[in-house]
Each structure stands twice: as C-alpha cells, then as structure tokens.
C-alpha cells in the first residue's frame, strides 16, 4: 500500500489507542461482578471510548479536507 499522509498516520495511531481502551474495558467489564463498585467506572470509560470511536469517521473526514476538528 502507499505511504500514509501525516493526517492518516495520526488517525491510525488514535484508532489503535481507542482499540486498546475499548478492548481491555470489554474484558474488565466482563470479569466484574454486577455489584462490583469498579464496574460503573469501567462502564463510564467504555461509554466515552465508544463515543470517541463514533467520532472517528468525522475526524477522518475533516482531516481529509484539511480542517481542524
């Protein structure tokens, strides 16, 4: 494949970080009992990361147009 632009490279790295946050959150939440006090905190992190995931197409669109998100 061709070399990525700087914008694409940054988005790639951001997506990798989000993949790690979401994936490990999934694992930790699955390991938590329903009454574990950490569960609600993990769900908050997970929800925020999922919402950041949902923003990625918009970030990519803005980057491709040279706009700042």
């Amino acid at each position: 494949m061709s070399e990525p632009t700087k914008e694409i490279d940054v988005i790639h790295r951001l997506k990798n970080h989000l993949a790690i946050i979401v994936g490990f959150c999934d694992l930790l939440i699955a390991e938590c009992d329903d009454n574990d006090p950490k569960r609600a905190d993990l769900v908050e992190v997970h929800t925020a990361a999922r919402e950041a995931m949902a923003l990625m197409p918009e970030v990519a669109r803005l980057a491709s147009k040279g706009e700042h998100p």
Binding site: M1, K15, G23, F24, M53, M56
Partner: protein, 132 residues
C-alpha cells in the same frame, strides 16, 4: 477445523497491547492463540507447517504488512481463513477491490463482541460472540 481441539488462531500485529488484548478476548472465548510481532515472523510460523484455523493480520506493519504477508503464503495455504484488522479500511479497499473467499476485514477500533463475531463468522458462518 484442524482437529477436535478448539480452533487455533495466529494473531500478527506489531502493537503488543493489541496482540495481548486480542489474545485475551479470544482465549476467554475458548480459542487457542499464538502471536507474532510482525509479518516476517508470521510468515515464518505459517511456513513452519503449523495447523492454523485462522490468521488475524494487522494490515499496517513496518517491515511486512498483512496484505503482503498473506500474498507470500497464499500459494502454500490457499484455504487459510484471514481476518484483516485495520485502521485504514479505505486503503485496504484501494488495493484489494475484492476479498478472497474466507477473508474478511475488521475496522479498528473494534469491540470484543465485534472481534468475536468476525472470527465466528469466518470459522463457523455464524455471528455468535458468546458472553460479550
């Protein structure tokens, strides 16, 4: 499948936390997992004759990308099922207009459920992802 054992999955990614995360998700679901930190090491494992059921390959790796890695082993392993994991889905589709039968892609970032569904779809033709 190669045996009555649970399916064996090779995870190839240059990002160690991604490999570890995928390993934990897959092992928790009952799969056996081996890892390689890059395409060159992945090819070496595949050429070693190991009986794999599925290859999960990152597309963007510094020395040898997932697409080129698979191209190198395709002749010897025409039936190998491959899940490409990529943060650059557009670039994959630029160079690969169509995927082979037994190939699929998963866009990063993904959830545990998304990973397990993609793996189950390739291996069993079903979306069942267990507890996630």
């Amino acid at each position: 499948m190669t045996s009555v054992q649970s399916p064996l999955v090779l995870v190839v990614d240059d990002e160690a936390p991604i490999r570890q995360m995928e390993r934990r998700i897959l092992e928790k679901a009952g799969y056996r997992v081996i890892e390689a930190p890059g395409g060159v090491e992945g090819v070496a494992i595949l050429n070693d004759g190991k009986s794999l059921d599925l290859l999960i390959a990152d597309l963007d790796m510094p020395e040898l990308g997932g697409d080129e890695m698979v191209r190198q082993i395709r002749a010897a392993r025409p039936d190998l099922k491959v899940l490409y994991v990529t943060a650059h889905i557009d670039r994959l589709l630029d160079v690969r207009k169509t995927l082979w039968e037994g190939e699929a892609f998963l866009d990063k970032p993904f959830t545990a459920k998304g990973l397990l569904e993609a793996v189950a779809l390739l291996l069993y033709g079903t979306l069942s992802a267990g507890k996630y």
